[in-house]
């Protein structure tokens, strides 16, 4: 069973790209934006937890033991260090589930945000660079998607396809690609008209080449910022879908699932949902701090003013 958990976590690595630029970068970030530094540290810790889950976890996260259900965390009466954050309704170790949950939750949201970004950037580049009827069609699809109540769309798709990690990633990416498309379209529209692009084109360069070599690199910074913030939104969305009973199927631990499962036990065994709730909050907060910091660093307009 843990084999499955491991496979799913493999795609976590892209998230490393953002903060792994180096210590110098971190130092620069710390000077400019203390909040972003806090964010980077939080995100870093969560990623470490996700990657090292098998080492950090004290027990198998799906191993149930109905003789020890609803045991409290160790600092409360009747708690023990064997289950430092207590056990859930099936006697599973909350701490280990939390650590493994980091993998699944992060993997799902990073992937969904990535897929959404890929589709959105491609659509935005094509719409902005080619323009005309293609632009009109793509932007109408964007409008259509935006007008469709997202959670209803997600509900319908999950109800149709069934709940699984793959389907959740697809559904959530459907709710996020439009924002990239809009931003990238605007940027590539401006870029197309700029002298250096016109010049390259006059030299006979291929459109695809121009997009890939000259337009794309120039839109990556804002895409990066949006991507970070969308990961945060997708994490919250996963928990909302779990709440509606449409999250990742059991027994796979995700923070959203744990939170939703624990809500009946809030007054009796609050730790089941409080810890995943805190985990979601702190992680999303960290990602948001980081995203804001990145924006300050990368967005040329804001940089000019500092």
């Amino acid at each position: 069973m843990s084999g499955r958990v491991e496979r799913e976590s493999a795609p976590v690595s892209p998230a490393l790209r953002a903060p792994s630029v180096g210590l110098a970068w971190l130092a620069r970030l710390a000077r400019r934006s203390p909040l972003a530094t806090v964010g980077a540290v939080i995100v870093g810790l969560v990623i470490v937890a996700a990657l090292a889950a098998p080492l950090l976890a004290t027990t198998d996260p799906i191993d149930q033991d109905l003789t020890i259900v609803l045991k409290p965390p160790f600092w409360l009466e009747d708690g023990s260090l064997r289950h430092p954050l207590g056990t859930d309704h099936l006697g599973r170790d909350v701490y280990s589930r939390l650590v493994y949950g980091a993998r699944i939750s992060l993997a799902i949201s990073v992937l969904a945000a990535l897929l959404g970004a890929a589709v959105g950037v491609a659509a935005g580049l094509v719409a902005g660079y080619i323009g005309g009827r293609v632009d009109a069609i793509i932007m109408r699809v964007v409008d259509l998607n935006l007008a469709f109540p997202l959670i209803l769309l997600a509900l319908a798709v999950v109800a149709l396809l069934g709940a699984s990690v793959k389907n959740l990633v697809i559904v959530m990416s459907i709710t996020t690609w439009m924002i990239y498309a809009r931003v990238v379209r605007g940027l590539s529209l401006t870029l197309r008209e700029q002298e250096f692009v016109q010049a390259i084109r006059a030299l006979g360069a291929h459109d695809a080449r121009i997009i890939a070599r000259h337009v794309l690199p120039n839109v990556l910074a804002p895409v990066m910022v949006i991507w970070t913030l969308e990961i945060a939104r997708v994490i919250l969305m996963e928990s909302a879908l779990s709440f509606l009973g449409l999250g990742v199927p059991p027994p796979t631990p995700t923070w959203g699932r744990m939170l939703a499962e624990g809500r009946d036990y809030l007054t009796v065994a609050g730790w089941i949902s409080i810890f995943p709730g805190l985990a979601i909050m702190v992680t999303v907060l960290g990602i948001n701090f980081l995203g804001d910091g990145l924006r300050d660093l990368l967005d040329p307009r804001l940089r000019r003013q500092t």
Binding site: L35, L146, A147, P149, L152, A156, L160, L236, L244, L285
Partner: protein, 305 residues
């Protein structure tokens, strides 16, 4: 200007049409509701008979034609579950949803504007840090969790607010706050960013140069300009707010469109789903249209483009 409005209207209609087509096929693909409408003891023969009676076994094209012919006249058919015409059913729930979402928006704006302005004018200082911290915290809480916590705290422990349902103003406070908190965070950040930009503009510097008091400069000269992007974002966020309202309406049993629609989806009540998606999409499109026009009016430069 007139041409611009006409063009926007045409695309609005196209988008709404597109949404209704997508919603039809999506609901169709999720399978027909025979099994969940019949008592558990129904046999295969009875299920088949029921399907034929309701026309669920007709080919997709015929069902779509039937749907389209009615939909043009604003008739989305009779709710399978409620036995009543679906569009009026949804329309009757619109006021509750509007009350909730508009309250949430106002709440978010009222909180976000001062917080954002404070953060911008004290940029880099402690106040900025705190304001941003609060804002981002608000954007980080799963709102259904927050909603349940609020019920336990404000209704059960302190007994100051009603637990759920719709009634007087007290009833709307918790659900609106649960929706507002995410939006508030977003708007605070937006106000801060635009305020910082505006404060660096020449005319603000001029006003300052004339020796006007800081507070006056901020509120009279900088703020109105900083609010323009706010209008757009609030408009764009309306769709998201409606989406968020679905979960919150469920928790508080707020008798709005979101709750009604989610039940319709789960019950495969297609006529209601289609009517609801149509109304919600129309609302989103119309509000975006209004925002665009307002934007043109506020910022004449757009008209040229």
């Amino acid at each position: 200007m007139r041409a611009y409005i006409a063009a926007r209207l045409v695309t609005a209609v196209l988008v709404i049409l597109g949404v209704s087509v997508v919603s039809f096929f999506l609901t169709f693909l999720t399978g027909d509701p025979a099994e969940i409408m019949l008592p558990p003891g129904a046999t295969a023969v009875q299920i088949a008979k029921f399907r034929a009676e309701w026309g669920f076994d007709d080919p997709l094209a015929i069902q779509y034609w039937r749907f389209l012919r009615r939909a043009v006249h604003g008739d989305f058919g009779v709710s399978l579950r409620h036995g009543q015409s679906s569009l009026p059913l949804i329309a009757a729930r619109l006021p509750a949803t509007l009350q909730l979402t508009v309250t949430a928006m106002l709440l978010a704006i009222v909180l976000a504007v001062p917080l954002g302005v404070l953060a911008a004018t004290h940029r880099g200082g402690k106040i900025d840090l705190i304001a941003m911290g609060v804002a981002l915290l608000g954007q980080s809480v799963p709102n259904f969790w927050l909603a349940i916590m609020m019920i336990l705290l404000f209704a059960v422990s302190w007994g100051v607010l009603p637990t759920s349902g719709r009634g007087g103003f007290a009833h709307v406070v918790m659900p609106a706050a649960a929706i507002a908190i995410n939006l508030m965070a977003l708007l605070t950040r937006l106000v801060r960013t635009t305020m910082i930009e505006v404060l660096a503009e020449d005319y603000v510097r001029t006003a300052r140069g004339k020796g006007l008091r800081e507070v006056f400069v901020h509120t009279r000269h900088a703020l109105p300009n900083a609010l323009i992007p706010l209008v757009t974002v609030v408009g764009l966020q309306f769709g998201y707010i409606l989406g968020g309202a679905v979960v919150i309406e469920t928790i508080f049993t707020w008798p709005g469109v979101g709750l009604f629609t989610i039940q319709a989806i789960l019950n495969r009540d297609y006529p209601v789903v289609q009517a609801s998606v149509f109304i919600l999409a129309t609302a989103v499109v119309l509000i975006n249209l209004a925002v665009d026009l307002l934007y043109v009016w506020l910022d004449p430069r757009i008209r040229v483009a």
